[in-house]
Symmetry: C2
Subunit: 191 residues, 2 copies
């Protein structure tokens, strides 16, 4: 999506080691009018899939997911991290490894809010190693819901998550795929 690629080139900041900071418009400050345009694009891609629920993960996915959801006129459910107080049996749970923070954590969704009658679109801001997305997909599978697919704002195509998940047959639509980032800040998008 050219609008997003241009925004990444203008406002994103590249740091050595494949780090892209987009806190000025996506995950610390949220440029709401801009993200609304992303929401329309996700709607265009998934509007015929019968989506009745958007699933994301706290925290940075939530705003994007809400702005996407209003196009579908459906609710958002966000998976919570590190909620150990919940009694087993009340929640679906899966494990996510954060490579950025070097730790493993649990994500949970209450069984009240995901079930066999749902057709779910998963939305997240980033896809890199794919652990968070795999965790969300497992929550959908465990609940018996159907998965329409995944909508990702920025995929790091030089990391394995996207390819790995597509190989399992899951539809993954990323609005920008970065194939290369050099330490001096050059970004190459997949065409």
């Amino acid at each position: 999506m050219k609008l997003l690629e241009d925004k990444i080139l203008t406002d994103g900041q590249v740091y050595p080691g494949g780090v892209l900071k987009v806190g000025s418009f996506l995950n610390h400050q949220i440029d709401v009018p801009f993200v609304n345009e992303l929401g329309k694009e996700f709607y265009r891609l998934y509007k015929d899939e019968g989506v009745n629920k958007i699933l994301t993960i706290e925290a940075s996915g939530i705003g994007i997911a809400c702005l996407v959801a209003q196009n579908f006129n459906v609710p958002v459910v966000f998976a919570k991290k590190n909620q150990t107080k919940n009694i087993a049996g009340e929640v679906y749970t899966s494990k996510v490894v954060s490579f950025t923070h070097g730790r493993e954590y649990d994500i949970i969704v209450s069984k009240e809010f995901l079930g066999p009658d749902d057709k779910v679109l998963i939305i997240d801001d980033f896809l890199a190693n794919g652990s968070a997305l795999q965790g969300l997909i497992k929550l959908v599978e465990d609940s018996g819901a159907k998965l329409a697919g995944c909508g990702i704002v920025i995929e790091k195509g030089f990391q394995p998550g996207g390819d790995m998940i597509r190989k399992t047959g899951v539809r993954v639509e990323s609005l920008a795929i970065i194939d290369d980032m050099t330490d001096d800040g050059q970004i190459t998008f997949r065409s």
Copy 2:
């Protein structure tokens, strides 16, 4: 706001000790079309205040803040919790006490995203003891930004936060104020 009071009575769950669960529409599952109506009401209340930025706190404030922000056509900034990796000087920081979880934590906002040119509306889902809201107000003050006021979805009027903050001269608009909740589930709203 009658729409919200009705929703709380229909879908909220009261637990002993003044606990109100609204996870079915506000802070685990988000009823996006419904929250959009709350967003319009916050806009009606604050539209003449020159608001150019919405500030909230992760995680459950983010979705609501984004749905509010699109009425104002302005960005959202969300304060992050427990980010200890940030170098002093790059962020505004304040301390928040969570009575629910019985602990204290830091919240931070990057100095890039809040400053003297901003007129800020703070949005959050709940106001009870007021610690989170006080923390957010301090971030605004430290940044030199002006504060238009605070927009709260549900205020627990039987806890001291709302009165305490209004006494400092800050405008606080809560769409529903609960003056009493009994252990058997009766809810009394302030009229």
